[in-house]
């Protein structure tokens, strides 16, 4: 069994972005899961299986039923770019409120990307989401109230 399965290959969308987020069951923008057990693809190096030809095939290694090394690298690159963007925003002369809100927004996106993709919460059992979210949401709610009570929310 290899990564590319003949019948699912036929259903693969042509668009690059759609391929990247293709889940293999007629739904787009569903990122591949990581739990499919399958035999080792051959010739796998630290960065995954070497692409056959750089022009056409290299993103095909993603998709299918499970996330590949390439997928994680893409997430990692996006996270790095966002970290750089944070630094760039920090160096601009934005108004305080815009500066802070864009920084917090980027930070939140990074947070949820790591939780969803690296920690696999997006694909995993909902129990894990409940347990983690109960702590996270409660912490946000309570400590926001604490900051409001001590007049620190707009400081």
């Amino acid at each position: 069994m290899t990564t590319e399965q003949p019948e699912s290959e036929q259903q693969r969308p042509g668009n690059f972005l759609k391929r990247l987020f293709w889940h293999g069951d007629h739904r787009y923008l569903l990122i591949p899961t990581t739990y499919a057990q399958e035999a080792n693809p051959e010739g796998e190096g630290p960065f995954g299986k070497a692409p056959k030809t750089w022009k056409t095939k290299w993103w095909d290694w993603t998709g299918g039923d499970h996330a590949s090394v390439f997928f994680y690298v893409v997430v990692g690159v996006i996270l790095s770019i966002m970290t750089l963007a944070e630094y760039w925003i920090f160096t601009t002369d934005l108004e305080q409120v815009w500066l802070n809100s864009s920084l917090f927004a980027l930070s939140a996106i990074k947070f949820f990307m790591v939780v969803a993709f690296f920690m696999h919460l997006k694909f995993d059992n909902k129990w894990f989401t409940y347990l983690f979210a109960s702590g996270f949401i409660l912490a946000m709610a309570i400590f926001m109230s604490i900051l409001a009570l001590t007049d620190k929310l707009n400081g």
């Binding site: 129990w127 702590g135 604490i146 009570l149 001590t150």
Partner: protein, 642 residues
Amino acid sequence: MAQEAVISTFPNPFPRPKSDTGIWSWITTVDHKRIGTMYGISAFMFFLVGGTEALIMRLQLARADSDLVSPEVYNQLFTMHGTTMIFLVVMPLSAAFFNWLVPLMIGARDVAFPRLNAFSYWTFLAGGLLINLSFAFNSAPNAGWFGYANLTEGAYALGNNTTFWVIGLQVLGIASLAAAFNFLVTIINLRAPGMSFMKMPVFIWMALIVQILLVLAFPVITVALIELQFDRLYLTNFFNPDAGGEPVYWQHMFWLFGHPEVYILILPAMGIVSEVLPVFSRKPLFGYPFVVFAGAAIAFMGFFVWSHHMFTTGLGPAATSAFALSTMAIAVPTGIKIFNWIGTIWGGQIKLNSAMLFSIGFVALFIVGGLSGVSHASPPTDAQQQDTYYIVAHFHYVLFGGSLFGLFSGVYYWWPKFTGKFLSEKLGKIHFWLMFVGMNLTFFPMHWLGLDGMPRRIFTYGGDSGWERTNEWITVGAFIIALSILVFMINYVKTWRAGTVAGADPWDARTLEWSIPSPVPVYNFVKIPQVDALDDWWVKKYPETVLHQESHDTDSGQLAPAGAEDVLPMQARVSPEELLGEDHGIHLPDKSYYPLIAALGLAFFGGSLMSAWWLTLIAGLIMLYGVMGWIFEPVNDPEDHH
């Protein structure tokens, strides 16, 4: 077995403990029942300590201008009384019930992490001993159980008194957290097949909610204690006003934990009462889903009321109103529960034995405590009542009249399951009435004293205050409570020697733990039961009553064909001897030294922070050794299998 991949090897100097009898079998046990028993006994010992502290305080307050104890000793007494009763009595007594009953009621053979369970117990015991060890150094904690900053800062609280308190609570917090994670996973993951959440007994529901509260509330006090500890030991500035620190921030942190803690103390008792009342009324619990959701609502809202402990710190009208409203709103789910309990008894075949009396006592006294609680949810009245004996009256009605009555109810109810013998009903009823009368005599007059302006935490008062006569009666009441506890101890000793032997299901009860023999065999269930309904054991025994009462229930249709062989308590009939004959494939986790070593290392580590650095190093190494041995030790020794 050539395919077996070796994951780790570690030189293990101790042979694995094997014996099932003797003192070491208890010290190294990972059996939830034995750990539950040890929790119960330790908590009862601490109860006697905390009770003695209360009696000394009452003797001191019985007379005006008394000098039985000095103000310094009095400060230590009330601090240690509060700390002991909350962290070393009610919480571990609840933990004892969780340990015993969570696996039994959900149909499991043990908790999810047996060695972590042993670690929780030993950490609790070591932490409790550490905090009480302070008496030996004549530096018992003396700043109140809430340790308000900045009175607890190094500059104002000299000596090691408060440091003992901070570190002791930190160790106890780790014990509570470890136990909470364990029970949380156990309840989610080890329910018997078919036991969906809405088929769980209410006690298990309340246990689940309490574990969630513990998991989410204890990190806050951990951080607050870390900050205070750093202030005291390393001279940081968290609560130092000279450097801009805010003492009120300690109050926020403390009560952010402290109010959920109140529900950590009361919800287990509510769960017990919800099990006892249906059995002795011979009726199902009235409005099961309402009781469950009311418990969840109390827990959730409990996180958003903390500032009602701080109305007099001047939070501003908006915040004060918001917290007053949320506090009053919490009376709604509480009221739902009380009406459901009353609805359960209503029209039932009530059997007034000791367990039932304690449960009814719980409902009655908790109503009193709840009502006085609503009275200081209103900020203006709270400002009047703050720091007076009215508050003392309120929280003793909910903690003593509530939690402790509920826990005693559980003791009388489950004693036959724990030990195989009944406690004496006669002595039990004497115990109840003495405790009920003593409790009301002690705490009800405190309402009057408080409204008359008698402050809390004062070591004495003037003879011209007019409080002396009332205080005399309160002291008499306290000794009546002490007498009632003595009666309980006599009951224990007498029935231990010559108690009536109880069968597997002496109360004709409703939940799974009564389907197995008493006392419970070490493996609990020969065969993990299949659960088809709420109160499954009752349904299996009396399918006809359930079909009649709950004909609207879609599940009940499946119960009808249950044959006699399914209905009769098969497991109750299998004797342990019969079982030993054949291998049922029941693998119980082996005993272990390492949880004990890790726990002792942890408490030693905490205590050593007040001492020389090399002691800390030794303690750290002991802890590390315990943890590493634990990691490298397999759950079961390989030899066992082959």
